[in-house]
Symmetry: C2
Subunit: 203 residues, 2 copies
């Protein structure tokens, strides 16, 4: 999440991501973003036609970042169960890092921004639909591989289950953000997730 920004546009995107993720879209002003990035407002509006467009590009940036990691974590070369375990570890590490950097637990940037703008900007729904589709695709292929290995019931509704997993993680991240506490995620989420998937059935 922290590479050297090349150009002004990228700098603005990264600065905005931090600020918006930490606070919220409407709580962060264009002036604030510009000031923190040390860029004049005229430059801002040279690259982005509006604040909303910046937010969209910030989401693309986040998703691009996530994809880089998930393509590895969910590589079909890994045992499917390991993919989920690694994902949970990755989430925990990422949250710890951001929390240390920004001073409090930030949760899922897509859910936070999406929830805030859902009643404001129609476009954001489409964008998050894309992201949701990508994430659930990772889950679905892992679930199918689990099924082949006989680790989950052959009657599992894979698509529905993938959405359950997504909602489950988003929900826990939102709660961690609100309570500013990663304790539950660190201590329980992996087990809870495996349970939701249907692994720990016959202890």
């Amino acid at each position: 999440m922290a590479d050297a920004p090349k150009d002004t546009k990228q700098l603005l995107i990264e600065t905005a991501t931090e600020l918006i993720w930490s606070e919220s879209y409407n709580a962060v002003s264009v002036d604030e973003i510009c000031k923190k990035a040390d860029v004049k407002k005229g430059s801002f509006y040279h690259f982005f036609p509006s604040k909303a467009h910046l937010a969209m590009e910030a989401m693309d940036y986040c998703m691009c970042n996530t994809k880089g990691h998930y393509d590895d974590l969910f590589s079909p070369t890994r045992p499917p169960l390991e993919r989920f375990s690694l994902m949970v570890s990755y989430i925990i590490e990422q949250q710890k890092e951001i929390s240390a950097q920004l001073g409090h637990v930030c949760g899922c940037p897509f859910a936070t921004l999406g929830s805030e703008l859902a009643g404001q900007d129609e476009l954001i729904g489409k964008k998050i639909n894309e992201i949701c589709a990508k994430k659930t695709a990772y889950y679905q292929s892992a679930l199918r591989d689990l099924m082949v290995e006989g680790l989950i019931s052959s009657e599992t509704d894979v698509v529905a289950k993938s959405h359950d997993i997504f909602a489950f993680i988003v929900g826990h991240l939102i709660m961690a953000r609100i309570h500013n506490d990663l304790g539950f995620i660190e201590n329980h989420m992996e087990k809870s997730l495996l349970d939701l998937i249907g692994i720990n059935r016959h202890i």
Copy 2:
């Protein structure tokens, strides 16, 4: 959610609840709330020392409303499994109603507001802690009753499971809000929830 407002203060709380739930805290201005409630701003600041205080009282109002319903749904006189089923039905009905009234799916008011203000106002975290504690208390007692009836494993970690249920529901509601679509909740949530609780284990 729609009773006749008695006094100006209650009118403001109800108007603000609608507006904030539908859009977001920072997207709604005091002026807007006052205009819609047909109350002058001076009156607003007669009842509330600040916009943030209004938001707090709006949450209390929502929680009070919820409690009235949940005390019935989760009455120990009901079979524990029925309590969860009724809760899902209640959530669906409530979401449908609000969606029809406000023009789009609104999700969970606590999660939406909480997520937005988590990085802004420390106080909100405490408030939602209260709400979370109350909701999970309903779940926990139902889970314990399920355990006594032998419907879930006697090794279930009731407290952790109650938080999983809470996160699961919050997550699905957030996604419904973002996608502006209740389809998944209507078609899958009850089954998914029973599955998460650990009921549908031996189909």
